[in-house]
């Protein structure tokens, strides 16, 4: 048996100190704040309390939390449904086509996120080109306002997060041995069986990675609902931002953050446990 390393190797020190300084320490500060009392003018009073957590379980906040979960799940699912065929095409294309498609996929990243989202808002606004084009084509008679709705928030999330789903899926599919599908066909597997019993199980690491990369930020997203949802869509991310910036209630905002984070971490660990257990002794595929 190899010697157990009790101390992290020197090469890991920069990483560990980085994570400790900029990830762990702030999290501890947030956790401490969540147990304190809000000052009258926005500061904090060093008095221990769990009132902030009790308040978070108010029906109003639970509803917002439920809406956020629903939207994040919907975004993840739609990214998966759209992203999988895209990744499949990418993985099976010839080298030339594949490079072109990959560049097209990555180009949106070159534009600032806020600018991109604002462009989307303009594109689908009442006076926007799509609304106007529909009128001139006779598809509808009056300008249509798509922005400022939860549907538009979903669409904004979808366009923004799609590459995060496609890239891990592409990595998985690119490593997939397509001779396995021929073997499946040879043994009498229908297209459906080949998909569910060969392709999906062997690309599940890409599916998990992509879903995590989409779901986690989507759950805490506040800019897209803010810009595309108008004042109508209030999600967890907006709620937390509001506590810090508008309400000046840092302890309550911290409590909400800690709850959100715990739910995400708990969910992730559970999913990873279940999926990885099925692998048994299989070497985990790096996605």
């Amino acid at each position: 048996m190899a010697k157990q390393r009790s101390f992290p190797p020197p090469a890991a020190w920069p990483g560990i100190s980085w994570a400790g300084l900029f990830l762990l320490a702030p999290m501890i500060i947030v956790f401490i704040y969540s147990l304190l009392v809000k000052g009258v003018y926005g500061g904090i009073i060093f008095e221990w309390t769990i009132k902030n957590y009790e308040r978070a379980f108010d029906w109003l906040y639970l509803q917002i939390f439920y809406e956020s979960l629903k939207l994040a799940a919907l975004t993840t699912l739609s990214c998966l449904l759209i992203g999988y065929p895209v990744a499949y095409v990418l993985a099976t294309a010839t080298a030339g086509t594949r490079n072109t498609l990959l560049v097209l996929l990555i180009i949106p990243f070159w534009t600032n996120f806020v600018v991109r989202t604002y462009a989307l808002k303009l594109l689908f606004s009442e006076q926007g080109p799509i609304s106007q084009m529909g009128i001139s084509l006779g598809l509808w008679s009056e300008p249509i306002m798509w922005s400022n709705s939860s549907g538009m928030v979903w669409f904004g999330m979808l366009t923004n997060y799609l590459p995060y789903m496609v890239l891990p899926l592409y990595v998985s599919l690119e490593k997939f041995d397509f001779a396995l599908l021929e073997a499946g066909r040879d043994l009498g597997a229908s297209a459906w069986n080949n998909f569910w019993r060969v392709l999906i199980p062997l690309t599940k690491h890409g599916i998990i990675t992509g879903s995590i990369l989409v779901f986690t930020p989507a759950l805490g997203e506040f800019l897209i609902p803010d810009m595309l949802g108008g004042a109508k869509v209030m999600l967890m991310g907006n709620l937390i931002t509001e506590q810090f910036l508008k309400m000046r209630d840092w302890p309550f905002g911290s409590a909400l953050s800690i709850i959100l984070m715990s739910v995400v971490v708990f969910g992730l660990v559970t999913i990873l446990r279940i999926w990885m257990k099925e692998d048994g002794k299989l070497k985990p595929e790096k996605a």
């Binding site: 041995d177 001779a179 009498g188 062997l202 002794k281």
Partner: protein, 389 residues
């Protein structure tokens, strides 16, 4: 008349402008170990994929037991494939890999268990049933691939270079295993390989392919001793080539002249595999002799043998045999490759570089060919049975 189980009629396949298979006609018998041999890119894998159903032919037909199968999907053909790198499902264990084909046919419970265990038993992998594919060695993976393909009881088993992924020692062993399995099951095997030695040792018959064309079909011996084309003669083993001209001929011997003072005589071997071709006086021919047919002698042979005076340029010891490279005395630009087996008897008269010797060969060991392909033979000759595919 033997039952022709699988027939390929004028089978063609093009990818765009590239014609991979240019009209293959083959008849394969039931229980035959049939090899398709050729260099990479000769179309042999495409031919196998046409049989397996992974490609549709551009034209032509495939008949299995008289039924057309070339348009059917793979699983309706009663052909199963052992893939080049086995294509075993890495997320399933050995047992589940083998069971896959039956599960797709909705076979469940005891029937499934019995047949999977039987198949694993056949390839001696029953003790590995719970193992993961990734933990198996190459040879074990091949056995699983065989069991997985055979469990559907195909009429024809297609093997796409199944030994190429293994190292030399294991390849030798798996070759024997494959042959034993085929004999035991009396199963029709179609085996694609680029390794001539592999094809020669295991096959009942071999089809040699080059550039999309089946150049010759025959037993290993026929293909080696009676190559019908230049390509076959050079691809299978090595061969010495001499441009020559027909001088005189009779019913049972041909005298040819070349750059050498002496005429060489050509006769048909008694086994009837290689009858004398039809020739005319003055006709240009190509004389071909396998390296092992030569004998190196210290003095000119007294018997009625063809011989040439030569000097040894190179000696390569190869274990079972020694290969010599010789330069002819009368025609220095002509060199011969000669292979002599190393036995205790010949060991004493080992020759060295620079030695002046005679190389002799029997008139029966000559192969005469036209400039490209074999010359036509007399109608009465038995070799007509071995038509080119």
């Amino acid at each position: 008349m033997v039952f022709r189980m699988l027939r390929l009629l004028g089978l063609r396949k093009s990818f765009g402008t590239m014609e991979a298979v240019k009209g293959a006609d083959l008849e394969i018998q039931e229980g035959e170990f049939f090899s398709i041999l050729g260099p990479s890119g000769c179309g042999k894998t495409t031919l196998l994929r046409l049989l397996g159903g992974f490609e549709k032919p551009s034209s032509g037909q495939i008949l299995l037991d008289g039924r057309r199968i070339d348009q059917l999907p793979p699983h309706q053909r009663q052909c199963n494939t052992v893939f080049q790198r086995y294509a075993l499902f890495p997320h399933l264990n050995v047992w589940k890999n083998v069971a896959f084909g039956l599960q797709m046919k909705a076979i469940k419970g005891q029937a499934l268990k019995t047949r999977v265990d039987e198949a694993l038993d056949l390839v001696q992998m029953q003790s590995f049933a719970d193992r993961n594919i990734t933990t198996l060695s190459g040879g074990q993976q091949q056995r699983v691939a065989l069991a997985r393909a055979l469990i559907n009881r195909p009429k024809v088993l297609l093997l796409d270079e199944p030994l190429s992924a293994l190292d030399l020692k294991l390849r030798q062993q798996m070759k024997i295993e494959l042959l034993n399995l085929q004999r035991k099951l009396k199963q029709t095997f179609i085996f694609v390989t680029h390794d001539q030695e592999e094809a020669l040792t295991v096959s009942d018959r071999i089809a040699v392919m080059n550039e999309g064309v089946v150049e010759q079909v025959g037993t290993a011996q026929e293909i080696y001793e009676y190559p019908r084309t230049n390509f076959v003669s050079q691809f299978i083993g090595s061969i010495n080539c001499l441009e020559a001209r027909v001088n005189t001929f009779t019913n049972d011997s041909i005298a040819i002249s070349s750059d050498f003072k002496r005429n060489f005589s050509v006769r048909a071997p008694r086994d009837g595999l290689r009858p004398l071709p039809q020739v005319q006086e003055g006709m240009k021919v190509r004389l071909m002799i396998r390296p092992e047919k030569f004998k190196i002698l210290k003095s000119a042979p007294t018997l009625d043998q063809n011989h040439i005076e030569a000097s040894i340029k190179e000696v390569m010891y190869k274990g079972p045999s020694t290969q010599f490279l010789l330069q002819a005395k009368e025609s220095p630009e002509t060199s011969f490759s000669v292979s002599q087996s190393n036995s205790a008897l010949t060991a004493k008269k080992t020759f060295g570089i620079g030695d002046r010797v005679f190389i002799a060969w029997a008139p029966e060991d000559c192969i005469l060919m036209g400039s490209e392909n074999a010359l036509p033979v007399h109608e009465s000759s038995p070799a007509l049975e071995l038509q080119v595919g």
